[in-house]
């Protein structure tokens, strides 16, 4: 998955609420609302603290869901980042 580093788009504040069937996240600024898994929320919150590389993000994913392996975490991450990037909510970081 290229590029290697990502960050939350500047100007976003995250609000969220957790329920049994997932976490609803509100992106204050652009005004988007999304339903995602707990892992997805952890990843977003990690990105909100600062830019992270793909490997570090996979570490976060695994820490949040110990049962998963690196490959499935990578797959899930690519999917999530792809969606968020398309929506303009995360940006790649140029080296």
């Amino acid at each position: 998955m290229t590029p290697a580093r990502w960050r939350l788009a500047t100007g976003i504040t995250l609000l969220h609420r957790r329920w049994d069937d997932g976490c609803v996240v509100f992106f204050a600024g652009p005004g988007d609302t999304q339903l995602m898994s707990g892992v997805g929320l952890e990843l977003l919150q990690a990105l909100a603290r600062g830019p992270l590389g793909v490997d570090a993000l996979i570490d976060v994913a695994i820490a949040s869901d110990p049962g998963s392996d690196r490959d499935s975490a990578r797959f899930m991450l690519a999917d999530l980042i792809g969606q968020l990037h398309k929506a303009g909510l995360v940006d790649p970081v140029d080296e």
């Binding site: 609000l15 609420r17 329920w19 049994d20 069937d21 997932g22 609803v24 204050a28 609302t33 339903l35």
Partner: protein
């Protein structure tokens, strides 16, 4: 003073002069039209609604009339107008009442941003409101009409108004619109409900309107907290089945079905979170209206057994 205190001729005259001021829930509409058939329909469906004096403030100045002189005689179309703005294409004159109803909904959906406005039916029993967000064709209007004929109070069949400050639902009771097969279902099911036809072949098929119960109109100022968010689905022949519905999904559904969630920002998010938090979220499949209503009554009186609500599959 209510609409039925006026003689039909007076209603028509006041409507022609654009001075018919009807109070509907939190809003006062000032109405104008030169169409006699529309005056009669308004007089019938809105008989129990309060009237306001013409000198008072009106929230919306609405008009249903032929769009110009030519259209009065050729093609006989009518258009809905809010204070000079025409949001919809004109419709045939025979659909004037349906057009008016759409227009009244549009006014609220476009302007009432002190509420969170959700496309949902809302009814109330025992001081608690049930929200039924659902896309068209889910049977929510039939359910709504059925519930209202069995002692539930009508808050709205189209627009749930939630006040952000306290999370209460503000009633906005109006004629319940019914389409196609629902019309026959309601005719067989209801006893003294007034149902009036509008013409066939609107875009949605046959459309009719059911007069709201007088009690619902009289209690339009009583706001209540929501206790259930119900996602109904009609499936012919299926037994009534009630299942828990995920709160996260329920919130997303409310957001998608809201007319103004996307402009309320973080405040709207917090309002929806609070609503979802306090409500029991359920999905309901049913094949028989009478049986469905029995389930709803038991839900409202708290007499449903835990295993009546199946685990989410």
């Amino acid at each position: 003073m209510i609409v039925s205190d006026l003689a039909p001729a007076e209603i028509a005259c006041t409507l022609r002069r654009g001075q018919l001021m009807i109070e509907i829930g939190p809003f006062v509409y000032r109405m104008r039209s030169s169409l006699p058939a529309l005056a009669e329909r308004i007089g019938s469906q809105y008989a129990d609604f309060p009237l306001r004096p013409a000198e008072e403030f009106a929230d919306f100045h609405v008009r249903v009339d032929p769009p110009n002189l030519l259209r009065r005689w050729v093609h006989a179309n009518v258009a809905f107008e809010l204070d000079g703005v025409v949001p919809f294409k004109p419709l045939p004159r025979a659909h004037a009442f349906a057009l008016l109803e759409s227009g009244l909904n549009w006014c609220v959906a476009q302007h009432a941003h002190t509420f969170l406005v959700i496309h949902a039916a809302v009814v109330e029993k025992n001081g608690c409101a049930m929200l039924m967000p659902a896309p068209p064709g889910s049977g929510k209007s039939t359910l709504c009409a059925g519930l209202v004929n069995r002692g539930w109070r009508l808050l709205s069949d189209e627009l749930a108004l939630i006040a952000p400050a306290d999370g209460l639902v503000a009633p906005c009771p109006r004629p319940v619109s019914l389409k196609n097969e629902s019309i026959d279902v309601m005719r067989r099911f209801a006893t003294d409900a007034t149902i009036l036809h509008t013409a066939d072949d609107t875009i949605k098929g046959t459309v009719a309107h059911m007069k709201p119960p007088a009690d619902s109109v009289q209690r339009a100022a009583q706001r209540v907290p929501p206790a259930w968010i119900m996602f109904p689905r009609y499936a012919s022949g299926e037994p009534s089945t009630l299942r828990p519905f995920g709160k996260g999904r329920a919130l997303m559904s409310l957001a998608t079905n809201s007319f103004n969630y996307n402009i309320t920002g973080a405040s709207g998010f917090h309002t929806l979170c609070a609503v979802v938090e306090r409500c029991e979220c359920l999905e309901f499949v049913y094949g028989d209206l009478a049986d469905a209503l029995r389930v709803f009554d038991r839900l409202a009186s708290g007499t449903l057994e835990p295993d009546d609500i199946l685990a989410a599959s």
